[in-house]
C-alpha cells in the first residue's frame, strides 16, 4: 500500500513540477500577474507533495531517505523548493521563480532517471546523525543553488546593461541590486548551513570512526567548496565584493557543490559514496 502511494506521489511530483515550470515560462513570456500566481501555487503544491514523498519513503526504508543517489537528488529538490518559497516570502525578485523552477525541474528529472531501489542501510550510517548531517548539508545546497540561479540572472542582466543592448531579458529581469541582495542572502544562509553540515559531520566521524577528519574525497571537496564561499563571504564583508564578482563566485561555488554531490562520489569513491 505505502509502496503504491510512494510511487504515485513521485509520478505526481514529476507532473506538477514540470507543470509549474511550464506555467512559469508562460508567465515569463506574457508577464501576466495572474499566470504567476498560478505558477507559484503549483510550485507550493509540488513542495507539499515532495514533503509527503519523503515521509512515505522514510516509512518504507526505515531511515531518513538521503543515502542513495535518487534520495539525495530528491532531497536536494525538496531543499531548493522550500528555500525558494522561504526566500520568496521575504523578498520579491522579479522572474526569479521562472529560473529557479527550471533548475528544480531539471533535478526532478535527474532523480527520476536514476534507480529508485531501496537498499539496506550499512551499519556505519545507522545513526541519528545521518538526518542531521546530510539534511543540514543538503539544505545548504538548496540555498547555494538559489545563489547560483541568481548569479546567472545577474550576469545576463549586467551584460544587457553594459553592452547597452536592452533586449528581451532587460525588461524581464530584476534590478542588479535585487539580484545582489539575493546573492548575499542565499550565500550567507547556505554558508551557515554548510558550516553546520561540516561540523556535524566531523562530530559524527569522531563518534563512529574515532577521527574527526579523514580526507575522504567528498570531505576534501566539501572543504574546497566551503573555502570558495568563505572567500566570497569574507570579501563582501571586508572590501565589499559584490555584483559581478559575487555572481561569478556563486556560480563557481555551485559547480563545486555539484561536483561534490556527484563527481566525488562516482569518480573518487570513499566513505560518502551512495549506497548501491
Amino acid at each position: 500500500m505505502i509502496t503504491e502511494i510512494n510511487f504515485l506521489l513521485f509520478q505526481a511530483i514529476i507532473a506538477v513540477t514540470l507543470g509549474s515550470t511550464a506555467v512559469y515560462l508562460a508567465f515569463f513570456i506574457s508577464q501576466k500577474e495572474k499566470i504567476r500566481t498560478v505558477a507559484r501555487n503549483i510550485l507550493v503544491l509540488s513542495g507539499v507533495l515532495q514533503t509527503l514523498y519523503i515521509i512515505t519513503r522514510y516509512i518504507l526504508t526505515g531511515h531518513t531517505p538521503i543515502t542513495s543517489m535518487h534520495e539525495t537528488v530528491f532531497f536536494f529538490v525538496w531543499a531548493m523548493t522550500w528555500a525558494y518559497l522561504s526566500f520568496r516570502w521575504r523578498y520579491t525578485v522579479k522572474n526569479f521563480g521562472t529560473f529557479t523552477s527550471i533548475l528544480i525541474s531539471a533535478l526532478v528529472i535527474v532523480s527520476a532517471m536514476v534507480s529508485r531501489d531501496i537498499n539496506p542501510l550499512p551499519p556505519l550510517l545507522r545513526s541519528w546523525w545521518l538526518p542531521v548531517h546530510a539534511g543540514v548539508t543538503i539544505i545548504a545546497y538548496g540555498f547555494l543553488a538559489l545563489a547560483f540561479v541568481g548569479g546567472i540572472m545577474y550576469l545576463v542582466q549586467e551584460w544587457e546593461l553594459k553592452s547597452k543592448r536592452f533586449g528581451y531579458f532587460f525588461s524581464r529581469l530584476p534590478s542588479l541590486q535585487a539580484l545582489d541582495q539575493l546573492n548575499n542572502h542565499c550565500v550567507t544562509t547556505g554558508f551557515i548551513f554548510l558550516t553546520l553540515g561540516i561540523v556535524t559531520g566531523t562530530i559524527w566521524a569522531k563518534q563512529a570512526l574515532g577521527t574527526y577528519w579523514r580526507w575522504d574525497p567528498k570531505e576534501t571537496w566539501t572543504v574546497i567548496t566551503w573555502f570558495i564561499y568563505l572567500i566570497q563571504f569574507h570579501q563582501r564583508l571586508t572590501v565589499g565584493w559584490r555584483g559581478k564578482r559575487a555572481a561569478v563566485m556563486a556560480i563557481i561555488g555551485f559547480c563545486s557543490v555539484i561536483f561534490t554531490l556527484w563527481g566525488a562520489s562516482y569518480l573518487l569513491g570513499g566513505e560518502h559514496s551512495y549506497v548501491r
Partner: protein, 428 residues
C-alpha cells in the same frame, strides 16, 4: 430612453494650434466657466476639462444642436470666427463621446501616449464639476467609469511603464541598477537644462540629495537651490566620487573631465557600490573606457536615445492592446445605459416584486395541503393585486413628467431602492 444625449465637444493639440487654444474662454479657471455652463437651460449635466493640450466639454442634453451653438459662443466668444471654430472643434455623441473620453483618460489621445498626468487632470476637473453640482447621475457614472478604465489600461498593459524621454530613460536605467532610488545621491557636473530635467526626475523617484558642480559657481548655487541640494566646486569632483551614486555630466568642456583611472582608484573606498553615469555632453565629458570598470555603468546621449526608441516601439504595441480595452469598456457602458432606460427598469421591477409575491404564495400553499382549488384561486388573485398595488406608486413616479428630476436620476433612484441589477460588473 428619453431624448437625452451625451455630447462631447472639444479642441486638442491635434486639431487646434496653440494660439487659438490660449484664447479660449476657460483661462480664468474652472469655477466661472462651469457656472456659466450650468446656467444654460439646455444643459442638464456638464463637465469641463482644460489642460495645456486640450479643452473638452462633456454635456448631457436633450437639445444638442441648440446647446452646441451656445457652447461655441461660450468657448470662442468673439475672438474666433464661427467658420474657423467649426474646423477646430470636434463633436461626438453618445457612444463616440464615451469612447473619446475613455481614450483621453487612458492617455491614448495624449501628445505623449501613456503619460500619467492626464488622469490626474481629469480627476481634478471632475472634482470641480461635481463640487458645483454640475454633474448628475449619468456623468458621475461615466467619469468614474473613465477612471476605472484608465486604471485597467495602466495595470493590464505596459503603456505607462516605458520611458519616452531622455530623463525617463535615465530613471529607467537607474532603476535596473539600483532597484529603488531612495536615498541615492546625485552629482550634476555642469548645470545644463537637460541635466536639470534628469535630476528632477531622479529626485521625483526618491533620490536623496543633488550636488551641483559647475564652472560658474553662481549658476551651480542657483540650480542646487532649486533642486534642494548644494553646490560644490569642480575641484572637489574627485572627493565627491566616493559618496555619490549617480553622476550626470553635461559640461561644455572640449575634452574629457573624468578618466577611468581616477574612478578606478575610488571604487575601493566606495566598497564597490555601483556608480551610474550619464554623459549627455557633446563632446563627451566622461571617459568611454569607464564602462570597463566593474560596477560602473556609463551611458552617453546616443545610448539613452536608443532606450527611448526602444520604449517608443514598445509603447505603440501596448497602445493597440489598450485601445482594445477602451472599445470593450465603451460597449459595456452602452449596455449599462440601455439598462438604465425606463422600460427595462419597469420590467425588472415588476419581475422582482411579482417573483417575491409568488414565492411567498407557493410557500404558504405548500403548508396548507387541504386547501381547495377555489380557495387557491382566490389567494392567487389576492397576490396579483398586492403586487400591482405595490408597483403602482413607483411606476407613477417613473412615468411622471417631472421637470425637477431627469429620467436618469429617477431610474437610478429606483434601481438603487429595489436593488435591481444594472448590467454593470464593477462596483465603481
Amino acid at each position: 430612453m428619453s431624448g437625452e444625449k451625451i455630447m462631447l465637444l472639444g479642441v486638442n493639440h491635434k486639431t487646434t494650434p496653440v494660439e487659438v487654444r490660449e484664447k479660449m474662454a476657460v483661462t480664468e479657471g474652472y469655477e466661472p466657466a462651469l457656472l456659466r455652463l450650468k446656467a444654460l437651460k439646455e444643459c442638464r449635466e456638464c463637465y469641463l476639462l482644460s489642460t495645456c493640450n486640450r479643452v473638452e466639454l462633456l454635456l448631457v442634453t436633450e437639445q444638442p444642436e441648440e446647446l452646441k451653438k451656445k457652447i461655441l459662443d461660450f468657448l470662442f466668444g468673439a475672438e474666433v470666427s464661427r467658420e474657423q471654430s467649426r474646423d477646430y472643434l470636434y463633436t461626438y455623441y453618445d457612444e463616440d463621446a464615451v469612447h473619446h473620453l475613455f481614450m483621453v483618460a487612458a492617455s491614448l489621445d495624449s501628445m505623449i501616449v501613456g503619460e500619467a498626468q492626464i488622469l490626474g487632470q481629469i480627476k481634478e476637473a471632475y472634482r470641480h464639476a461635481a463640487g458645483l453640482g454640475c454633474t448628475g447621475a449619468l456623468l458621475n457614472k461615466l467619469l468614474h467609469k473613465a477612471f476605472s478604465v484608465a486604471k485597467r489600461v495602466r495595470s493590464e498593459t505596459g503603456i505607462g511603464s516605458s520611458a519616452v524621454s531622455i530623463s525617463y530613460a535615465a530613471v529607467q536605467l537607474a532603476k535596473k541598477i539600483f532597484g529603488s532610488l531612495d536615498g541615492k545621491k546625485v552629482l550634476l557636473i555642469g548645470a545644463g537644462e537637460m541635466a536639470e530635467l534628469a535630476a528632477e526626475h531622479l529626485v521625483g523617484q526618491g533620490a536623496a540629495e543633488v550636488m551641483v558642480a559647475n564652472r560658474t559657481l553662481s549658476r551651480a548655487a542657483a540650480l542646487s537651490k532649486k533642486l534642494g541640494g548644494r553646490a560644490v566646486s569642480l575641484h572637489e569632483l574627485q572627493s565627491q566620487l566616493e559618496y555619490v551614486d549617480i553622476i550626470i555630466s553635461s559640461t561644455g568642456a572640449t575634452g574629457l573631465i573624468l578618466y577611468k583611472d581616477e574612478v578606478k582608484a575610488v571604487m575601493r573606498q566606495r566598497r564597490n557600490r555601483p556608480l551610474f553615469m550619464i554623459d549627455i555632453a557633446v563632446p563627451r565629458d566622461l571617459d568611454p573606457k569607464l564602462i570597463e570598470l566593474e560596477n560602473v555603468f556609463l551611458y552617453d546621449i546616443d545610448d539613452l536615445t536608443s532606450v527611448v526608441e526602444m520604449n517608443k516601439t514598445e509603447r505603440e504595441k501596448e497602445a493597440v492592446k489598450a485601445a482594445g480595452i477602451v472599445d470593450e469598456e465603451t460597449l459595456k457602458f452602452g449596455h449599462w445605459r440601455e439598462g438604465m432606460a425606463i422600460i427595462p427598469t419597469i420590467r425588472a421591477m415588476r419581475g422582482k416584486i411579482e417573483a417575491i409575491c409568488w414565492e411567498e404564495l407557493e410557500r404558504t400553499c405548500a403548508k396548507m395541503p387541504e386547501m381547495s382549488v377555489k380557495e387557491r384561486k382566490r389567494l392567487e388573485k389576492m397576490t396579483s393585486s398586492i403586487a400591482a398595488k405595490v408597483l403602482h406608486d413607483p411606476l407613477q413616479y417613473l412615468k411622471n413628467d417631472d421637470c425637477e428630476r431627469s429620467n436618469e436620476k429617477k431610474v437610478y433612484n429606483l434601481r438603487n431602492i429595489f436593488k435591481l441589477e444594472d448590467g454593470d460588473d464593477d462596483a465603481s
